[in-house]
Symmetry: C2
Subunit: 332 residues, 2 copies
């Protein structure tokens, strides 16, 4: 081989190397879950993802069947001192009160305006529904989206002073990214309102509107000045909680997830439905154990009550995530 | 520059070229819609896709807002001599008759078993609902999926002898692929049953189960021998037709489409909702004009009746696709 040929050969090899490197877009191996403490929880999640994504592995699952569903309140963002959507309702009642003078003398609105939370709570589910309908219905879907966005831009959490959608869990954001990077399609399946979540889930969680499943009210198509609108009606369409979470998963997603994450007994049936399927499955429960950095609560909490899930996690093989020990940081 | 340096320079340039070429994965320019006749319809579709996907263009739409929705019956597959789901219902009644001896003397089942289609039709919407519930409910969701798959594997269309899901429109398959290749997320929004479509839409249309919106019945979560199942109940949950198509789009997709395709007045409000949005939009109507290769029908048809859509297509700026002239081939 003469000198020129050796140069040519060398550069052809270099070309191939450059080509392979550039196209594989290879990067140094990074920890996909840096906010998770090294330990059994993190390892179990990573083992699961490895097992279902490795071609040839007995537990391999093709990408189009890698469905993951997550609850929202208490699983992806906080839910104390009460559900953030309830904070929104109370703010909206206060804001709308000027146009509804009768609320000053009508319960449960009167109690909201007087900041008498004991009476608000005493009004129960029926009172809550009344407050929800008064604040969530009567406008078009596009008007409601603006209302939610305006509230998120201005409202602040009472104890942290943060915007509510900044109170999301950094380790869970990493988990969502990690799953997507491994071919999972990630959905929210929440008791919260569909249209209360959709305006911001894509920016915050990377979850687009059509991958958000939740509770909903009825809407009606009508023409206004010849233009179609969808009007939000003061009537529940669907409550997405407990036994209806698998119903909603089937209706909206149409496949049984292979991974589900929740934090309360409202997620019990979603986890049961998910992990009872054939093949390798993973059920996760975020256990709120950190009174210093977030809140510590389970069996006796009005929000995110977790009792059966704690008692039956072991026999179902569900992974209890201990916020205090498994997460290095809570919020971004 | 000495000879060796010139060789090195030449091969470095070659490396870069190879690299750019390989990474762009460039291929000869192919016609994305080969089954569409060259002409105004094809051009309008391609202009629309060009305009909404070209960065810097006034009509540019980011990929996460490129939502396209299509009706199914008569838009993606045929609907003659009657809706294929009705053919399924009739076949199921015949198949299940041995276990339901009373059907021999009870209408509308008796008429189905006697192949007396006039009486079946005379039973109207109520009779149809009764037949639908008898054949679509009473089993688990997973059992129903097997039933649908078995039927599709064995049933044949009465005039073509083809499996029903082979009677899909090749030009529309190309359109779905073309849209996806341009970053669109493509959904079905059909009056047909959710769970009648989902078992096969991914294989045939490339549309996964969670991107199928349709009519549905109620389901109930229950445990059988400790294992959760979803049982299909003989009760309608939602009929996805006319004014409820935009309602379903909002509920399932959560964004207004920028492109919608239909073929009947059942799609009128979906097209209206889609094309009334801000920015560039496209509404398509498949007009069944080909009595030789498919069927020709519109204003007077029991299936896919199209009258208002024909009358108001122009003023709404909707593209009427003339099957006979715009499509070189109909079926794959």
């Amino acid at each position: 081989m003469n000198f020129v040929n050796r140069i040519v050969t060398k550069f052809t090899a270099l070309s191939l190397l450059l080509l392979l490197t550039a196209c594989a877009n290879s990067q140094p191996v990074q920890d996909p879950l840096p906010s998770w403490t090294e330990g059994a929880s993190k390892q179990r999640i990573m083992d699961f993802v490895h097992d279902v994504t490795t071609v040839g592995n007995a537990d391999f699952v093709p990408a189009n069947k890698r469905i993951a569903t997550f609850d929202n309140d208490g699983t992806l963002w906080s839910e104390k001192p009460t559900y953030f959507q309830l904070m929104f309702i109370l703010d909206r009642v206060r804001f709308m009160a000027a146009d509804h003078p009768q609320w000053k003398t009508t319960q449960p609105f009167k109690a909201v305006l007087e900041n008498d939370m004991a009476t608000v709570k005493a009004a129960g589910a029926r009172g809550m529904l009344e407050l929800a309908m008064a604040t969530h219905a009567g406008m078009t879907t596009e008007e409601f989206e603006i209302i939610v966005n305006d509230w998120l831009a201005t409202a602040r959490h009472p104890s942290t002073g943060q915007p509510f959608n900044a109170m999301v869990y950094q380790p869970m954001l990493e988990l969502l990214d990690y799953l997507r990077a491994n071919g999972f399609k990630v959905f929210i399946v929440s008791g919260g309102g569909l249209e209360f979540m959709r305006p911001w889930t894509e920016a915050v969680y990377g979850i687009p509107p059509d991958q958000v499943v939740g509770s909903s009210i009825e809407t009606r198509y009508e023409l206004r000045d010849g233009n179609p609108v969808l009007v939000r009606l003061p009537e529940m369409h669907f409550i997405d909680d407990k036994v209806t979470k698998p119903v909603a998963i089937n209706r909206f997603i149409g496949q049984r997830p292979i991974l589900a994450g929740g934090n309360s007994d409202g997620d019990f049936e979603m986890l049961k439905w998910t992990t009872s399927g054939k093949g390798k499955r993973l059920g996760l429960i975020v256990h709120h154990t950190d009174a210093v950095r977030e809140w510590a609560y389970d069996r006796k909490s009005a929000e995110g009550r977790l009792a059966r899930g704690l008692d039956e996690a072991d026999e179902n093989g569900w992974l209890l995530i201990d916020m205090a020990n498994d997460w290095k940081v809570i919020f971004p």
